[in-house]
């Protein structure tokens, strides 16, 4: 390989590895702040029936967590099949424990 070839491959590699900017992470941050503010506002305002508020708060939390795990923890990037399986497994057991505990105290 000549020196010129080497330089060419090097440039090609450099090009394909262009760094992502901070923009999309700042958008995720602002999105998280907004979801949090909505959740706080819903509780402070009150008035609406409790069951609806509870479901609404949980929905806000789940959306925020999914977005943060997707972008900040890179779960949406390719090559993350096993991590996703690990996390779904963890959340499945966690969810089972929560449902069981609630079932046990409510009925």
């Amino acid at each position: 390989m000549t020196s010129a070839d080497h330089q060419a491959t090097h440039d090609a590699v450099k090009h394909s590895q262009r760094h992502e900017g901070p923009q999309k992470h700042i958008i995720v941050f602002i999105f998280s702040i907004i979801l949090t503010a909505i959740a706080f506002a819903a509780v402070i305002a009150g008035g609406v029936n409790t069951a609806f508020t509870v479901l609404f708060l949980l929905l806000m939390a789940i959306i925020q967590v999914l977005v943060q795990m997707g972008y900040w923890m890179h779960l949406k990037d390719r090559g993350h099949m096993m991590p996703i399986i690990f996390m779904i497994g963890g959340f499945f057991v966690a969810g089972t424990a929560i449902v069981t505990a609630l079932y046990w105290v409510w009925w």
Partner: protein
């Protein structure tokens, strides 16, 4: 060429140094398995809390104790620290060790701020509100869940501080990069758990 860089064929640190070696990739993958286990740990603590949160034993209730201001401030601090650890990893991908260290230091300072706020909050509950670990089933479940999260923050602060020291000593290499990446994942996970804590413990406590 700087000797602090683990050399590839042409002597440069690869673009994503945390994934450059098999050991690095294995470290990242197995850390996800650990985080899956952490999800189970916190899931069971949430289950306990949800089951016992109304058993106040004539002690203070969630609605009497919690303040929106403290919760919002803690949430903001942790959310910003999660963003600064994203910036740390981005600086690492640009091989900018100086910036990487600065963002990690900012993350640690914010983590300490969160811990300080939580210690203040707990001490208010214990001293002013007479809400101790053994006051009620609600208080035990509350301190166990939120305290476990606080302990994770404390561990993260120690861990990242040690990593900052290592970055000063050894620089950014294919050995130190996976450690930084994995610690950032840990820090994001702590923030993710906090999202559920402020929702389920604090906001639901205010709803009733």
């Amino acid at each position: 060429m700087s000797t602090t860089h683990a050399e590839t064929v042409d002597g440069a640190l690869p673009h994503e140094p945390e994934k450059a070696t098999l050991e690095g990739r294995n470290k990242v993958l197995s850390f996800w398995l650990f985080l899956g286990g952490e999800a189970v740990l916190f899931g069971t603590l949430f289950a306990t809390f949800l089951a016992l949160r109304n058993q106040t034993n004539e002690g203070p209730t969630a609605n009497e104790l919690f303040s929106f201001t403290t919760t919002a401030l803690a949430t903001l601090i942790l959310l910003v620290s999660s963003l600064t650890s994203v910036f740390a990893v981005q600086a690492m991908h640009r091989h900018n060790v100086a910036k990487l260290r600065v963002w990690l230091i900012v993350t640690v300072i914010l983590g300490l701020g969160f811990l300080g706020l939580e210690i203040y909050e707990f001490s208010e509950y214990v001293i002013a509100e007479k809400f101790g670990m053994t006051t009620s089933a609600f208080s035990s479940a509350f301190y166990t869940l939120v305290g476990f999260h606080g302990a994770h923050v404390a561990f993260g602060v120690l861990w990242i501080s040690v990593l900052i020291g290592q970055l000063f000593k050894k620089g950014l290499t294919v050995v130190t990069a996976p450690k930084v990446y994995v610690s950032a994942m840990y820090w994001h996970f702590i923030d993710v758990v906090w999202v559920f804590i402020f929702t389920v413990v604090y906001l639901l406590g205010k709803v009733g």
